[in-house]
Amino acid sequence: LLHCGSIPSQIMKWNGWGYSDSRFLFNKKGQAEFTGKRYRLSGMIIPGLKDWFEGTFGANLQHKTPPTPLLTNTAVPPATLNEAFVEEVKSTGIPFSHDAEDRVFRAHGHCLHEIFALREGKIGRVPDMVVWPSCHNDVVKIVQLACKHNVCLMPYGGGTSVSSALECPPEETRSIVSLDTSQMNRILWIDEKNLTAHVEAGIVGQDLERLLNESGYCTGHEPDSMEFSSLGGWVATRASGMKKNIYGNIEDLVVHIKMVTPQGVIEKSCQGPRMSTGPDIHHFIMGSEGTLGVVTEVTMKIRPMPEYQKYGSVVFPNFEQGVACLREVAKQRCAPASIRLMDNEQFKFGHALKPQVSSIFTSFLDGLKKFYITKFKGFDPNHLCVATLLFEGNREKVLQHEKQVYDIAAKFGGLAAGEDNGQRGYMLTFVIAYLRDLGMDYYVIGESFETSVPWDRVLDICRNVKARIIRECKDKGVQFPPLSTCRVTQTYDAGACVYFYFAFNYRGLSDPVHVYEQVEHAAREEILANGGSLSHHHGVGKLRKEWMRDTISNVGMGMLKSVKDYVDPNNIFGNRNLL
């Protein structure tokens, strides 16, 4: 093996989410536990999960669907190598590999169908070769060689795509080379006068934050995938971070981008904070999803690390009130760093994920809280929902801000429900992806998808999409009602970002992935019919391509296409995303 990444792939699962040592399992007593040491939940018993899991999905711990344990090399199609290209790469000294495991690892993102196939040991078209450039110039060389020898390049960052963006087009006959940016992971400089940092695009989120923290700074960009996703990937998909209310989304954070394309390098000549120089070329790059070139270096805004952080949570009697509260918070432009509203099903789910409490006192307190909310305040446990909050800044301002938000919440019947609930909510963000793997061990498959929608349609879209999912499942022969739930994860002046989670027990279905895809397709249709966008931050990839024309109009498609035709006339960046 010729490479060593910042996260070597051995410590990552090859057929599931995240670290190999971290996973949910049901132990011999039938209790759920989370293994490893990396997370707050690691090593803990989660007593409520089994009942919730069985009750929600009609699943049974006796009915298991374990994955194929090992990747067999025979399942991997042999590499189609472009010998001349390989020779010239070899002469540049840039590391590369055509080892089956390396190739399979970079052949997928984390869509359900991708992981499901891996668990079954089914491997489709995979890259024929992986290269690991270690700097901008390496990328320039590789792109030049790719053009010279007409090989297909597919940039690979953290591999967390959920839009089929990393899937190799099966119709591609050229040699496909996966360009893994993971070795380009340095912070090249920090400019404290302008509060910017110049960073190589292959760096993953958690490393970037950790390294900046060492100097007392942060970017504040925290997508849920930040443990694994890369800066280049964020730029290429128009990523959004949990704390965008303070720090902004990726388009607000980048000051300068360098991208290598078949036509050469594209970048701006200065770092002026705003320019009136025609359409912003950054906007051709952001969201290009690897179809135009490789982002190699980015200058990003940085901020001093926050002095104080405080979590919080509010319980609302129902989802309607919760949404009304978020809308008011957005109207008054006083959203905390993060504010998220979970619906009742997710509230129950979150509840099921409470780790075993160590003391009788805590459990007594929990009981008391529950009594207060449901009996004293009269909240219906089947309707109430919860918002989680994260405040950041200097202590005084945080406390003031907190009061302002809780006052607004109170107007909508919201009751403060403690820091713990809030913190647990955000912690779950990182472990929820691991839960899908647990479900897949027991006939349960699922996924999340997102949209953005104007405020006046938030409630309608939530109701209709959830109902559509349930109806489609029934129509497609799913034998137990699915989990169909949503949350509002971001607020904007003119709307919100809504996340849907959907999972079902597929026992008795002959082609569960197909059913899954049909339901997801229907759900997306419903989203669009209800005024939601095609995507808020996951991107289009190949999964949502069919709706692009309707989304951006014919002329819009033509614009994007003409850019592609100019920048990459031979389709070297041939992942076929987006258009």
């Binding site: 009750g55 009609g58 009915h63 669907t65 499901f116 079954e120 006046d456 349609r457 309608d460 879209i461 109701r463 209709n464 109902a467 559509r468 349930i470 109806r471 029934k474 129509d475 034998q479 137990f480 009602p481 026992r507 008795g508 279905l509 002959s510 082609d511 569960p512 992935v513 669009l528 019919a529 209800n530 005024g531 309707d550």
Partner: protein
């Protein structure tokens, strides 16, 4: 067993899964919605392919229990209907303030205020007044009063009120899942009281009902109806933005929140002819809007078919059609109807049809994204796509009503007697037909109509002659049996007469009083028109076509269909489907042979074909007479208003001179429809002459249409699509 996912599933597990299926119904989520999900697909609204295979529910007589137990206890019993998603009913005052505070109304009030220069508060006052005039104030005590009173009335008037209980169960279910719209057919004033009575009986949520303002003329009754759930809308408010806005917001607020099912009559008014009327789209647009705009997941529309064995307003309608103006509804007028109470009106059948999901109807038809770019509360004229969707849906719903209308044997008798009446008259034969001949023919027609999918209620364990005589005796006002011969009660005429002194009866009065009977009978025959209209159009097309060439026949069919599209319920744009359906039925019943090129009548098909052409003949003749009138009379200054009296006079003369045999052509309904058809075809245009609504007649065109109807001219290719 190896599933394609490569997971081994053993047989036993498969069985368990079969059991799990039940969990959808009883699961913790109450997801019973799926039980009917596939039945609600749009295809279920109306599938024309094989009407013979239609399955219908059984009926239960709700009066039976009323005859054996206390009406008072019934009226006072515990009434606890389940509402949509368990919402609690909402007070009228709350409802009103929701409407007045709605974004939509707010917007329109400001708009009207800006346009008219009036103060916004002033406009709001007006909106509030409109709402006061409109809103229902459903009160259980009034409902109980009606439940008591109607029990008494119904028991005297009717032998039975039969309801399909399964339909009620489906409705019950539908109400819990999605907002529900009830669409009953409209043949009598009785309809909406009857509906509420039935729903009360079955403990189903009581609807709020759109009623015409004319009821409000009857002060006391109007208020009573209001308290039993009616809300009142003006008959016309064309350009009144504010009125429309209050009205639509009021209906949508009730619907969206699921406070009560909304009930209205798709036909807009009572059909005086027993034919279904061309659907009105206003309210249907309103109730579909919340779904199209994503404000609710779905709306369930439930067509309800109410069939009266004998219509209370029978001769009233006939007289109205003959030109005696409709008396303004007044309370005293209603009491005069007390005479009605002493008569036997047979039975009523109420069939609650399969709930139709608006979502399924719209699937693949409407791009809901069209509402994405403008705030939904800003009223906009519906797009063409939506208009045509609503229009098509309306037709399908009317057809869904039609297909579950119960036909009593008398309907067959009326058809046969009418045809016989006209044929005898033409041939100068003795009036009437022998009773046993009628019975034989009725049995024949019974079998034919069943083959064509009629929902015929013919008691099978009773002998045909008993069935026939029971039908005749219930309608003794319209038929006479003497010396073993049955004939229409036209000779004496006094039944129909508005009470003129016998001695001074003019021929015209005589004619009109006969026409009352003929039109009454025709209204019963009309009840089965929907069963036969497509085959009958084909039969007539074969008759007037110049050859047996399929394309020729299709052209004639298409021409007739186009001509009669205001007369019968013919879904717009479905010419080819209708033609195919007609061919399918006539081939299947052995009447026709249809080859690639030709349409041939079989030996044994002539009888059916003759019956079908005779059924349509009065309409064909009627339209021709209207054409002739427009060509012959001095129509230079004819206005729309003068049209009916003038054409009536013309027809009376023709009838008296014996140049026309069908007295039913005197029906103003037919005359209006004919004019509408001619206008639609461009043969008559309304212009702004000296008088408003002056009719400009293109005589050449009218003349050629008349000739085509009479089979004297081949159908022009240009008017018809290629098959």
């Amino acid at each position: 067993m190896l599933s394609s996912s490569g997971v081994v599933v053993d047989e036993e597990e498969e069985e368990q899964e079969e059991e799990q299926r039940g969990l959808w119904c009883s699961g913790p989520f109450g997801l019973t919605v799926f039980v009917n999900a596939d039945k609600m697909s749009s295809g279920a609204v109306y599938s024309h392919k094989d009407p013979m295979l239609k399955k219908r529910d059984d009926f239960e007589d709700i009066l039976e229990e009323r005859r054996t137990s206390s009406d008072l206890r019934y009226a006072l019993r515990c009434y606890t209907p389940v509402l949509y998603k368990g919402v609690t009913p909402c007070k009228t005052s709350v409802l009103k303030s929701m409407v007045l505070q709605s974004d939509q109304l707010h917007y329109v009030i400001n708009q009207v205020s800006k346009e008219s220069g009036r103060a916004a508060d002033d406009v709001r006052e007006e909106a509030s007044a409109i709402l006061e005039e409109m809103a229902h104030s459903l009160q259980l005590s009034t409902v109980r009063f009606f439940a008591f009173m109607l029990s008494k009335v119904f028991k005297t008037l009717f032998r039975s009120i039969c309801v399909n209980e399964e339909g009620i169960q489906r409705l019950q279910q539908a109400i819990q899942e999605h907002p529900v719209v009830l669409l009953p057919s409209h043949r009598s004033y009785m309809d909406f009281l009857l509906m509420s009575y039935i729903l009360y009986t079955y403990d189903v949520a009581l609807p709020v009902i759109a009623a015409g303002m004319d009821f409000m003329g009857m002060k006391f009754v109007g208020e009573m109806l209001r308290m039993s759930g009616a809300f009142f809308i003006r008959r016309s408010f064309g350009g009144d933005k504010l009125y429309w806005s209050v009205f639509s917001e009021y209906v949508k607020t009730m619907l969206k929140n699921g406070y009560a099912p909304v009930e209205f009559f798709l036909e807009g008014t009572r059909s005086r002819t027993s034919k279904s009327l061309t659907p009105k789209l206003g309210l249907l647009n309103i109730v579909m809007d919340p779904f199209l705009k994503g404000e609710v997941f779905d709306v369930n529309v439930v067509p309800v078919s109410i069939s009266y064995e004998r219509i209370l307003e029978e001769s009233l309608y006939a007289r109205e059609l003959l030109g005696v103006p409709k008396p303004k509804e007044s309370t005293s007028g209603l009491f005069k109807a007390r005479k009605v109470l002493s008569e036997d009106y047979g039975s009523i059948h109420v069939y609650f049809g399969q709930p139709v999901s608006v979502r399924s109807l719209a699937e693949g038809r409407v791009n809901r994204c069209q509402f994405n770019l403008v705030p939904r509360h800003i009223p906009r004229r519906p797009s063409e796509e939506i208009q045509s969707f609503v229009n098509d849906s309306a037709y399908r719903l009317v057809r869904a009503q039609e297909e579950n209308m119960v036909l009593k044997p008398w309907v067959l008798l009326a058809s046969l007697l009418l045809q016989n009446h006209h044929q005898n008259r033409a041939a100068g034969q003795k009036p009437g037909m022998a009773l046993d001949e009628l019975t034989t023919q009725a049995v024949w027609l019974r079998d034919v109509s069943r083959q064509y999918g009629a929902f015929l209620h013919w008691p099978d364990h009773t002998s045909p002659s008993e069935v026939v005589s029971s039908g005749l005796s219930l309608h003794r006002a319209l038929v006479r049996v003497c010396e073993g011969r049955v004939q229409l009660a036209v000779e004496q005429g006094e039944q129909g007469g508005p009470g003129d002194p016998r001695s001074t009866v003019t021929p015209e009065e005589e004619l009109l009083s006969q026409a009352v009977v003929v039109l009454s009978c025709a209204s019963y025959r009309n009840q089965m028109l929907h069963v036969f209209v497509r085959p009958a159009l084909l039969a007539s097309a074969i008759h007037i076509a110049s050859s047996n060439q399929k394309q020729e026949v299709f052209n004639s069919f298409s021409f007739l269909r186009n001509m009669f599209s205001s007369e019968f319920i013919l879904c717009p744009g479905a010419t080819v489907q209708d033609f195919e359906e007609a061919c399918y039925l006539l081939v299947k019943t052995g009447v026709l042979q249809v080859t690639q090129q030709e349409v041939l009548v079989t030996e044994r098909g002539h009888r059916t074909l003759a019956f079908l052409t005779s059924m349509l003949d009065p309409f064909l003749q009627g339209y021709q007479v209207v054409c002739r009138f427009l060509c012959e009379e001095d129509t230079e200054t004819l206005t729309e208003k003068q049209f009916i009296p003038a054409v009536r006079k013309f027809i009376v003369n023709h009838l008296l001179a014996g140049r026309l045999r069908y007295a039913e052509v005197l029906s103003s309904d037919l005359q209006k429809n004919a004019l509408a058809a001619l206008q639609r075809l461009g043969a008559v245009r309304k212009i702004k002459g000296v008088e408003p609504g002056t009719l400009k007649v293109n005589r050449v065109m009218v003349n050629s249409l008349e000739d085509t109807l009479g089979g004297k001219l081949p159908t022009q290719k240009s008017v018809s699509a290629r098959l």
